[in-house]
C-alpha cells in the first residue's frame, strides 16, 4: 500500500494555501507535516481523508497491485474536532465508531487498556479531561483497523506517559505495514520524512 500525493494545491477562503505539493508514503513509513500555524496542515490532512476537494492535483492510495482504493474508507483521521460525544459513555462512543467505521479490530475495552484508560470505560465523556478525551479519540485507531492514520497534532494535551504510549502505538502500526501522516510541532519519536508546508 502506498500513498501518492502529486501536484496538490489547496484553496481555503479564496487564498491558495499551498500548491505543487508532492510526496509519497510507502507501507511502513511515516510522514510528518511541519509548518507555521495556518499553513494548511489540517487542510492537507482533510484532503488526504477525502473530506476536502483539492484545487488541483490528487492524492491516491494504491495497493500492492497498483489498484486505487478510496482514501476516506482506508484512513483514520484524529484531529482537533475529535468526534467524541460528551453525552455518551466512553464505551458507547467507541462501540459506535467501531460499527460505523467497520473492519473491527480490538474491543473498546482492549483499545482503552492499550492507552491506559480502561477505568473510564463507563464514564460519560463530559467528565473526561482534555488529555483523556484525546486518548479516547486515539482509541478509535484501534477499534477499527485501517491502514492509513492521519493524525493532526496527536500529542496535544497528552502527558509524557501517554506520549510514550502513542509513540509505541505508531511504531507498532508502522511495523505491521501501516502508513502514518501526522501534523505536529513536536518530534513524534518515530522515524519520519519531514514535509514542510508554507515558507515559515
Amino acid at each position: 500500500m502506498r500513498l501518492i500525493v502529486s501536484e496538490l494545491a489547496c484553496e481555503r477562503g479564496g487564498r491558495v494555501l499551498f500548491s505543487g505539493m508532492g510526496f509519497a508514503v510507502a507501507k511502513g513509513e511515516a510522514a510528518m507535516l511541519t509548518g507555521p500555524n495556518g499553513a494548511g496542515k489540517t487542510s492537507l490532512l482533510s484532503i488526504l481523508a477525502g473530506l476536502l476537494k483539492p484545487l488541483s492535483g490528487a492524492a491516491r492510495l494504491e495497493d500492492a497491485r497498483g489498484e486505487e482504493s478510496d482514501l476516506s474508507e482506508e484512513a483514520h483521521l484524529v484531529g482537533h474536532r475529535d468526534g467524541v460525544k460528551s453525552q455518551l459513555l466512553v464505551s458507547e462512543n467507541l462501540q459506535f465508531c467501531q460499527k460505523l467505521l467497520g473492519s473491527p479490530w480490538l474491543s473498546p475495552r482492549e483499545a482503552l487498556a492499550t492507552l491506559g484508560l480502561e477505568h473510564v470505560l463507563g464514564l460519560p465523556c463530559a467528565y473526561l479531561s482534555s488529555g483523556q478525551r484525546r486518548r479516547v479519540a486515539l482509541a478509535r485507531l484501534l477499534v477499527s483497523r485501517r491502514p492509513l492514520w492521519l493524525l493532526d497534532e496527536p500529542t496535544a494535551a497528552l502527558d509524557l506517559a501517554s506520549r510514550a504510549l502513542l509513540t509505541k502505538l505508531m511504531a507498532d502500526h508502522l511495523a505491521s505495514g501501516g502508513l502514518i501522516v501526522a501534523a505536529s510541532h513536536e518530534p513524534l519519536g518515530i522515524a519520519t520524512q519531514e514535509i514542510r508546508i508554507g515558507e515559515g
Binding site: G13, S46, A49, G50, L51, D70, S72, E73, A75, H76, L77, G79, H80, R81, D82, G83, V84, K85, Q87, L88, E92, Q95, F96, C97, K99, L100, L101, G102
Partner: protein, 222 residues
C-alpha cells in the same frame, strides 16, 4: 452498511433522550402552544373544536422547527460528521438515517401526543384519530423538508432563524394537505383516503428529496 446505519440511528436516539438532547423540547412547546390557545381565542367550545385539527397541525409544524437546527450542526461542530463521511456509507443514507432518528425522537411523539392535546380543544374523537393519523406521514414530511434547511445552515451559528425562513415556504404544501386530511376525518366529511394518500406521497417525496439535497448541501459546505 446496515449495521453502521442502525448504530447511527441508535446513537442519535440515545443522544436525543439524554440530558441536552432535543427529545422533550418540541413536545413541551407543542403542549404550551395548545394549552394557551383557548386563552387567546376565548372559551367558545364550538369554535375551538372546529379549528382544533388545524391548530394541532400548525402546532406540530412549529414544534418541528424547534431543534431542527441541531440536526447536523452538533455533529459538524465536534467532527462526528467527518467521521460519518469516512465510514464508506453514502452520505445520502446517513442523512436519511439521521432524519429518521430525529423523526422517531421528536416527530413521532408529536403525532402520538396530538390526540391527547386535541382533547383540550374539544375535538371530536374521530377527528382526533384522523389528526393523529395524518400527523404520522405529516411529521415525516416536515422533518425531511426541514433536513434540507438544517444541512444548508449547518455551519452557521444560530442558524435557526435562517433555517425557518428557508423551510417554512416548503412546508406550506404539507400543511395544506395535512390540515385537509385532518379536516376530512370529521364526521360527515366526504373522503379521508384521498388527502391522506396525497400526504403520504408528499412524505415519501420529502424523504428522497431531503436525503439527496441534504447530502449535497453537506458536501458543499466550506
Amino acid at each position: 452498511m446496515t449495521r453502521a446505519l442502525l448504530a447511527l440511528v441508535g446513537r442519535d436516539l440515545k443522544l436525543a433522550t439524554r440530558i441536552g438532547g432535543g427529545f422533550s423540547l418540541g413536545i413541551v412547546f407543542y403542549l404550551a402552544l395548545v394549552a394557551i390557545l383557548p386563552f387567546a381565542v376565548g372559551p367558545d367550545l364550538n369554535l375551538l373544536s372546529r379549528i382544533g385539527p388545524a391548530v394541532l397541525w400548525l402546532g406540530a409544524l412549529l414544534s418541528t422547527l424547534i431543534g431542527l437546527d441541531r440536526l447536523f450542526q452538533a455533529d459538524e461542530e465536534d467532527g462526528s460528521l467527518d467521521l460519518m463521511r469516512m465510514s464508506g456509507v453514502p452520505l445520502e443514507a446517513i442523512v436519511a438515517a439521521k432524519g429518521m432518528a430525529h423523526w422517531l425522537a421528536s416527530g413521532l411523539p408529536l403525532a402520538v401526543a396530538a390526540p391527547l392535546f386535541g382533547l383540550m380543544l374539544g375535538v371530536e374523537p374521530l377527528a382526533l384519530l384522523g389528526t393523529a393519523g395524518s400527523l404520522v406521514p405529516g411529521t415525516i414530511a416536515l422533518t425531511f423538508t426541514g433536513a434540507i434547511g438544517a444541512a444548508l445552515t449547518v455551519s452557521l451559528r444560530r442558524g435557526g432563524m435562517l433555517l425557518s425562513i428557508l423551510v417554512v415556504p416548503l412546508m406550506v404544501p404539507i400543511l395544506i394537505f395535512g390540515a385537509a386530511t385532518a379536516e376530512a376525518s370529521r364526521p360527515g366529511a366526504l373522503n379521508f383516503t384521498l388527502p391522506f394518500l396525497a400526504l403520504t406521497a408528499l412524505a415519501l417525496a420529502a424523504v428522497v428529496a431531503g436525503s439527496v439535497v441534504g447530502a449535497a448541501a453537506l458536501r458543499a459546505r466550506p
